[in-house]
């Protein structure tokens, strides 16, 4: 009952509907198109805003409360790509390079899905730990490193420069903006945050809706590639997030997170990156096919997560914590 209700409120939020509009516009072959610069500007805004808000809430939090959840997050993003890699090579039937590329995406995380879960929890009036953006930040890089390492070990097909990859990942704009925002939010405190909140906080959900319209436009283009992806990858892209979501909620509980935080960790585990991972994979695994990794993460897992997934992971978290 309750899950159905929260599902319908999730499906009818302006954010999800904007995403659907984007998909429909592309299917209708509309000329609606976001300039690349707008996409980049929105990305910068969203990541920095997420960081700032989390940082402001960090105030007065002990290292202990934060330590275990962070460890759980890092652990998840190290182990997820490992089993994904073997499942993708085995039952799904991808070659080493493409299996590694897809694994990198599913181990890493999606900032937009993260924003969607925060918006969902806020609407449902569930409190979330302030350091949640830190979970997002630490889960971006490890999976990509693990996946590239797996590809290299098995076929040498990866692009040799491991040190450069590491540097690029750790100084990528996602991590800089999230951690930088966290630090600024923390250092300038409530008084500082209030100065910038009318720009970074109040309009956040509206900006997110606009961004999701763009995500929908790109997803629509990717749907054409669904057929070449094959039904086994489609199944992977729905089943694995559910499994990861359950695992995330479970580790969230173990590490002491509340229902809000556990829902967030579950969603992060279930989400697949489509900003940081594609950029890294293009350089580190250039022979991998975007028709596989972008299509599965963007055209299947992302819409699944923002519609059905998030309410489900929230249900997992409530179930596990109240059990």
């Amino acid at each position: 009952m309750e899950i159905l209700q929260s599902l319908s409120s999730s499906l009818l939020s302006p954010m999800v509907l904007a995403f659907a509009l984007g998909v429909i516009a592309t299917l209708l072959k509309s000329d609606l198109k976001f300039p690349d610069e707008l996409y980049t500007a929105l990305t910068i805004y969203l990541l920095f805003a997420i960081g700032l808000k989390g940082g402001m809430k960090l105030d007065g939090m002990s290292l202990q409360t934060v330590g275990l959840p962070l460890a759980a997050a890092i652990l998840l993003s190290i182990v997820i790509p490992i089993w994904c890699f073997f499942i993708l090579r085995g039952p799904v039937g991808l070659d080493d390079i493409n299996a590694a590329a897809v694994s990198a995406h599913y181990g890493s995380v999606s900032a937009v899905t993260f924003s969607a879960v925060l918006a969902f929890l806020e609407t449902s009036k569930v409190a979330v730990e302030g350091f949640a953006p830190a979970l997002l930040a630490v889960m971006e890089a490890p999976a990509i490193i693990v996946a590239v390492f797996l590809a290299m070990r098995r076929s040498g097909g990866a692009n040799g420069d491991f040190k450069k990859l590491l540097h690029d990942l750790l100084t990528g704009k996602g991590i800089i903006l999230l951690l930088g925002g966290l630090a600024i939010g923390f250092l300038s405190g409530h008084k500082g945050y209030d100065q910038v909140a009318p720009f970074f906080d109040t309009p956040f959900k509206g900006v997110l809706a606009l961004f999701l319209l763009e995500v929908g436009l790109v997803t629509g283009r990717r749907l054409r590639d669904l057929k070449s992806a094959g039904w086994r990858l489609v199944a992977f892209a729905i089943i694995m997030p559910i499994a990861h979501g359950f695992l995330g909620a479970f580790l969230g509980k173990l590490s002491g997170l509340g229902v809000g935080g556990s829902t967030v960790l579950a969603t992060l585990a279930a989400s697949a990156s489509y900003i940081a991972a594609p950029a890294a994979v293009r350089i580190a695994l250039p022979q991998a096919s975007p028709a596989l990794y972008l299509t599965s993460s963007l055209a299947i897992t992302f819409p699944f997560n923002v519609t059905v997934g998030i309410p489900l992971y929230h249900f997992f978290a409530k179930f596990l914590i109240h059990a």
Partner: protein, 106 residues
Amino acid sequence: MNTTNLILITIVAEDELESRLVADLKKHGARGYTVCRVRGEGAHGERGSEWEGENIKLEAIVDAAIADALCEHISQHYFPKFATILYLTPVQVLRSAKFVNPQNSN
């Protein structure tokens, strides 16, 4: 006017490769270059947005020796892996001294 024949080397490649390509150009003796953001399609599919990645077109005017060395280098280190094309166009320049490294020119 008094013009010199040189070679315009054009490389179309993924934008993430820019810094690496520029370093290679400089290492081989190019004394300048011009970069332009482009989109494109080829054997590696469409590259036309921030999502799929975009291309750059890198142009440098060099002498024949440098052009040759760059062709060699790019075809060894980029062609096997990356979506990259390279072509050469004969051009006439003014002030050739600007483009040719005094040691390299022959």
